[in-house]
């Protein structure tokens, strides 16, 4: 891996590039929030960021630690009650891109954020679905950001919290969903997109310094590569500067690393 930036920075930068000024994004805390705000501060100044706490078209100067930080409300075009956010704005079909994280992700981009182990007596009780089950169905499409390890990209989920492409193929359509579902997964190693036909996640781009074998080793299923897999362009100086400034402001504001 080339020096000068971390895999995590590469992941956030790659995700940010998939966004445009026309997008209305439903943003989660952490890497999704970093990617969306990086896009807003670089190539997509018109992007509209929506957080489930009710803030619409918010322009935070620092990254929120929680989904309901005061900074989000203070810099928003408007703030609505949470019931309205889920009824009118998410369910109403107003969001172009939903950003999701994942504790576990399978080859069809189904997501588990509920439990590791059995539901009734879990080994690890995870936080749960939050907004994700409906973000996954109501947004025009969804992007997933995840660390690329075999514990995250697993062969079989312990629990399907948020439906991606189900068992693949036309499974979404069979359930009556008219939205596109997960169209991009960005990890710290590569970018994956669902195959047009089977909907199985396929590596379409490797980050700088990553070999196919690195990805195979870090993936819990025999991962496929697209023909002519590309090389993700490294972060530009501008992207890195803006991202690091954002993180620096955030650390100062929150009194510790975010």
């Amino acid at each position: 891996m080339t020096t000068g930036y971390s895999p995590s920075e590469m992941m956030v930068v790659a995700a940010s590039r998939a966004l445009s000024s026309d997008d209305v994004c439903f943003v989660g805390i952490g890497a999704p929030s970093a990617a969306c705000n990086l896009a807003r501060l670089t190539h997509a100044p018109g992007i509209s960021l929506v957080y489930e706490s009710g803030t619409i078209d918010t322009r935070p100067d620092v990254l929120p630690l929680s989904i309901g930080d005061g900074e989000l409300c203070a810099t928003a075009l408007t703030t609505v009650p949470v019931a309205e956010m889920f009824q009118y704005w998410l369910q109403g079909g107003r969001i172009t891109i939903g950003f999701l994280g994942a504790a576990q992700l399978d080859r069809f981009a189904n997501i588990n954020t509920t439990v590791i182990g059995s539901y009734d007596r879990p080994t690890v009780r995870l936080p749960g679905g939050g907004g994700a089950p409906e973000i996954a169905s109501a947004c025009q499409e969804t992007y997933v950001i995840a660390r690329h390890t075999p514990r995250v990209l697993v062969g079989m989920l312990d629990f399907v919290t948020s439906f991606g492409h189900g068992e693949g193929g036309d499974h979404r359509r069979r359930l009556g969903l008219t939205t596109r579902g997960p169209s991009l997964v960005v990890t710290d190693l590569c970018m994956l997109r669902p195959d047009d036909e089977t909907k199985e996640l396929t590596v379409v781009s490797l980050h700088e310094g990553v070999d196919p074998a690195d990805v195979e080793e870090a993936t819990g299923w025999p991962v496929r590569f697209a023909p002519g897999v590309e090389r993700t362009p490294s972060p530009t100086d501008d992207e890195l500067t803006v991202l690091r400034d954002l993180h620096r402001r955030t650390e100062l504001a929150h009194g510790g690393p975010a």
């Binding site: 805390i29 630690l65 409300c73 703030t79 949470v82 889920f86 539901y119 749960g128 169905s137 189900g166």
Partner: protein, 271 residues
Amino acid sequence: MATIVPLQEAIATTVADGDTVAMEGFTHLIPFAAGHEIIRQGRRELTLVRMTPDLVYDQLIGAGCASKLVFSWGGNPGVGSLHRLRDAVEHDWPGPLELEEHSHAAMANAYWAGAAGLPFAPLRGYVGSDLRDVNPRIAEVTCPFTGESLAAVPALRPDVAIIHAQRADRDGNVLLEGIVGVQKEAVLAAARAVVTVEEIVDDLAAPSPNSIVLPRWAVDAVAVVPGGARPSYTSGYYDRDNAFYRAWDDISRDRDRFTAWIAEHVRREAP
């Protein structure tokens, strides 16, 4: 009709063992002081309802006040796990904790239905999610016009809703502003409503005709508790204590350390 009373009285007259209690606040305006008063009064067997069980529910669960949790996301936002919640679910400490688990959309709709006097809310939700299999209170309803099948959740109708707000006037009308979450819905869905406020003022001075104001006849008890949302925040009054949220990760990880913290910071200290 709202009466303005001390916090101790507000909780003692509204919260009984076995009640279903919804303490709401979405990062903003979380009613910590009221939660601590419930711990001090030693309530037991509560069903706690909240979209995002935050530190306040971690504390109530760890202190043994709850037997059931109705929720949709239970973590320490931006930090990690709620260790007391996990310990209860994973190891039954200090006792078993039954879970009724929803998505945010379903919880918000369930409060909406409760506020709207409906027995259920329809939503486009839970499609393909295993949550349907583990929560029997997620059903289906068919649109009588299109034949589409939608998810349905029963209305939330807590015995008591408890929220924190910026201020009340002397009649007990309450104003909240900023991120307002599902607090209005929780108050209107509940049989009884308690509001802690930063201050009592002569005039609510709503910044616009459309701020969220709860009229005095939608509230039962108002208690003045400056700082009542700390370590969460009250817009216009004080910021979120992010350092405490981080520190909680260590405090709550260990049962003894947690218990000592509650003894020192909650049981010993009345506001």
